[in-house]
Amino acid sequence: MRIILHIWRQRDANDKGRMARYEVPNASEHMSFLEMLDVLNEDLIARNEEPVAFDHDCREGICGMCGCMVDGVAHGPLPGTTLCQLHMRHFKDGDELYLEPWRARAFPVVRDLVVDRSAFDRLIAAGGFISVSTGSAPDGNAVLVPKEDAERSMDAAACIGCGACVAMCPNASASLFMGAKIAHLGLLPQGQPERYRRVAAMEVQAVRELFGSCTNAGECEAVCPKEIKLEVIARMNRDFLRAHLTGR
């Protein structure tokens, strides 16, 4: 199948950037989207043109490194799927696609489709953890966790930190990402002692990183490749309010 691509090319953070048109004349329906980009890059190298830079690593949907906007949708048209797990059989011969990097003030473009998501790491460093030093843990079965809580915690913990939620949000808010971490830890008994301190610290950091506020647009949930639910944001907001009311 033949695919026409319009891809954002930007040499570095200072470059203004532009869309460039390419053709992949020989894509196969069995290719993953990233393999289709590999084929494009091999063609570009053969023609002495610099390949398109894009982030990727595990290519099995778990590392969270890949992703770009495909026709304005983070990770492309298939719900619950990272770009690396999207296969070309979901497109038609002759399709024309527009690829752009994540767009958010907190995620500056590094080159082409590559952005800097280190703001996510700083959110975690601000409070997205349980403070337990190595060696001080009691027996694993000393603290019981109801199965339902463990399952809900796991639902939230499945977040891969790809940034699609921020990219898709009209406000470039990191609320789904933060809410997922706050729900993951806050649903477990081990996470209770720092529950309110955590949410307060992460909110402060989010403002520093220039993430926007949540207005319940719900775009994040729609594109999340791990299908994290909006309820984690509600939960975060409740915890945040309680943290403020109780002064913790």
């Binding site: 590999d38 800097d116 337990v132 843990a137 796991m154 891969i160």
Partner: protein
């Protein structure tokens, strides 16, 4: 070079305790004066960096990905073993030790393996406390399953994402230390050389992948946690970025490389679909609990699987191994799949696949039960292969998954370069010739949380280090060397891309040093690899410059190292005239076609010394002694 494993003697149950007591400690107030470089942020590196920082050391930590949370440990699916015996089913530290030594086909060091089994208990406790959402029973207690043919239920898991959850635990512990200022983190930074001053590891040379800036980072000691080298085969279950550059360049600076030919093949991966294939995706081994593996009885049978009657199917694992059937260990299942494909009975467009069929299980248990057990895996298969495994059998084929070989380390996890520690998959230490399922996560975390933070003190407390700064001749030479390699790669301006060479090398390795090996193929590869390497340096095309984000240049350096490591792997495979674990030499098999170990001549670890470019490396032997688990022939008939 004498290889002193520093392994304690005496009763194995108390070796680690007694050894720890014999090690020197560093005064708490002095710890902050010691700088430690940790390279890699997977389970081993992330847990080590966090734990060392908690102790008060000044840690500088590096990863090539954009965040320490992305390391490939994240992709581990199945689980992590621990000898908790929560199920009262006869498990014990000794049994986990025994299973690991036996599973490794008697090519691992007993002392190390026993310590690993002991520490498995602490790992689970630590991870639970960090908030890893392990699967629970309705009572709230931790759930377990049996895994990879083990007869006890000792595997802890978090759905099919155990590696992800354990890594996030370590990552969060690391981020906590970064936030506290105890760790300085350098993401998108690749280690390209080791700095050795007066025979001791004193730092690393790195390239900032965003700016191309080459810099050196000096320290009192260096820890490598950079994972395995499975990507030498191009197609593997590893992440695209996983590479051997850090350990290979340390090897060229004097660290011995142990058992490079010990690689593990995973039997249940989604087969290659075309030339453009960029990686292979693993499907959890648990599928073999209910799926039946078969191929058509006759060669060249191109009928759809549903059209092939029962009498014309060959359930080859059940036929050859009546007692274990489809649950034979990874290496046995893999080799048999290759064998039937080599006979021309493989299925699918390429002929390089076998069926994994759930028809009977669906009939027996109902679709709902199968969906509950394997739903996410079936979805994943359908997403990639475009076929519904509820209606047609899956097609699977083995793929490279893990490398048991790695840099040689002693009981303290120190390499042959004083001050250079190697942990996790990057070292060779605990799995012998074959790794058991759910043991990789255990080893990475044991090394990082519990072993290294206890052994590294001894080196720091007992070693007088002279100050070294960036103007030192050794440092400047190392930086210049790194810059020269990048420049040389950019200056070739040849005709073929880096990937095209990597693919060619991978194919050569898969065919001659893959699932089964023979002397003729290995000798051929040993002739062909140097030719390919010579051609690479003459003809590779790397566009762009060294002063920017240049993904082709990053790959080019890694592939240059794979082209050297591949040769050592073949040499090691050719020298080891026996079959053991993942290393199957066709010349050495029993009359029934099973691996034939040769304990009389090969009960040793082969540790290779780099002797300069173009010179034959020298092999040193660390003899293995088995006091507690007596070598026996594995049998799954």
């Amino acid at each position: 070079m004498p290889l002193d494993s520093q392994s304690p003697t005496g009763p194995i149950e108390t070796r680690w305790d007694r050894h720890r007591f014999s090690l020197k400690l560093v005064n708490p107030s002095n710890k902050r004066k010691h700088k430690i470089v940790v390279v890699g942020t997977g389970l081993a590196g992330g847990s080590a960096a966090a734990s060392l920082a908690e102790l008060g050391y000044n840690v500088h930590c590096f990863c090539f990905q954009d965040s320490p949370r992305r390391a490939h440990s994240i992709a581990a699916q199945g689980g992590i073993n621990a000898a908790k015996n929560y199920h009262n089913d006869g498990d014990s530290v000794f049994r986990l030790f025994y299973d690991t030594v036996k599973g490794g086909d008697f090519r691992a060091r007993e002392s190390n393996v026993y310590r690993l089994a002991e520490l498995s208990l602490n790992i689970i406790d630590q991870c639970v406390a960090q908030g890893v959402p392990f699967a629970r029973e309705y009572s709230g207690y931790l759930d377990n399953r049996s895994f990879g043919g083990a007869q006890v239920s000792r595997t802890f898991y978090a759905r099919g994402q155990t590696g992800q959850q354990l890594l996030l635990g370590a990552y969060q512990a690391l981020e906590r230390q970064i936030g506290a200022g105890q760790v300085q983190m350098f993401p998108r930074t690749e280690m390209l050389d080791l700095i050795v001053v007066d025979g001791r590891a004193r730092g690393i040379v790195t390239r900032n992948l965003m700016t191309g800036r080459i810099a050196s980072h000096l320290a009192d000691t260096v820890v490598l946690a950079t994972g395995g080298y499975g990507n030498v085969y191009y197609l593997s279950t590893n992440a695209k970025g996983s590479n051997a550059t850090a350990i290979w360049r340390a090897h060229k600076r004097g660290a011995l490389f142990a058992n490079p030919c010990f690689t593990q093949i995973h039997p249940t991966c989604i087969p290659v679909s075309g030339e453009y294939q960029s990686k292979l995706t693993l499907m959890s081994e648990s599928l073999r609990n209910d799926g039946r593996v078969w191929v058509p009885l006759t060669k060249g049978d191109t009928r759809a699987p549903g059209q092939i009657p029962e009498a014309e199917r060959d359930y080859f694992l059940e036929r050859k191994y009546p007692s274990f059937g489809n649950l034979v260990p990874r290496d046995v299942a893999s080799r048999n799949a290759k064998q039937v494909c080599d006979e021309g009975r493989g299925v699918g467009p390429s002929g390089l696949a076998v069926y994994l069929d759930f028809r009977d299980a669906i009939q027996r248990l109902g679709k709902a039960v199968i969906e509950e057990r394997y739903g996410n895996l079936f979805d994943m298969y359908e997403r990639i292969a475009g076929e519904d495994p509820y209606n047609a059998p899956m097609r699977i084929y083995p793929a490279i998954h893990y490398t048991m070989g790695g840099l040689w380390v002693d009981y303290n996890l120190m390499s042959t370069i004083p001050g250079l520690y190697v942990i996790g998959e990057a070292n060779f230490s605990d799995h012998g010739a074959n790794r058991l399922g759910a043991s990789a996560l255990m080893q990475g975390l044991a090394d990082g949380y519990f072993v290294l933070p206890n052994t590294i003190n001894d080196y720091l407390a007992s070693t007088k280090l002279d100050p070294v700064d960036a103007t030192h001749a050794v440092v400047r030479d190392a930086e210049a060397g790194v810059a020269a390699i990048a420049k040389r790669l950019l200056d070739v301006k040849g005709t073929r891309s880096v990937d095209s060479y990597h693919r060619e090398l991978g194919k050569l390795m898969w065919e001659n040093c893959g699932m089964s090996r023979n002397a003729r193929g290995l000798r051929y590869a040993l002739l062909r690899i140097p030719e390919l390497r010579e051609q690479y340096w003459r003809d590779v095309r790397v566009l762009g410059t060294g002063e920017e984000l240049n993904q082709s240049l990053e790959k080019a350096g890694r592939v240059a190292d794979f082209l050297e490591l591949a040769e050592l792997m073949c040499l090691d495979a050719l020298e080891r005239n026996e079959s053991c674990g993942g290393h199957f030499r066709e010349e050495f098999q029993t009359p029934e076609g099973e691996a034939q170990r040769d304990d009389e001549h090969y009960s040793y670890t082969a540790a290779w010394e780099f002797r300069g470019a173009g010179n034959r490396p020298e092999m040193h032997k660390e003899p293995l002694a088995f006091e507690y688990v007596h070598p026996s022939q594995r049998s799954y008939k």
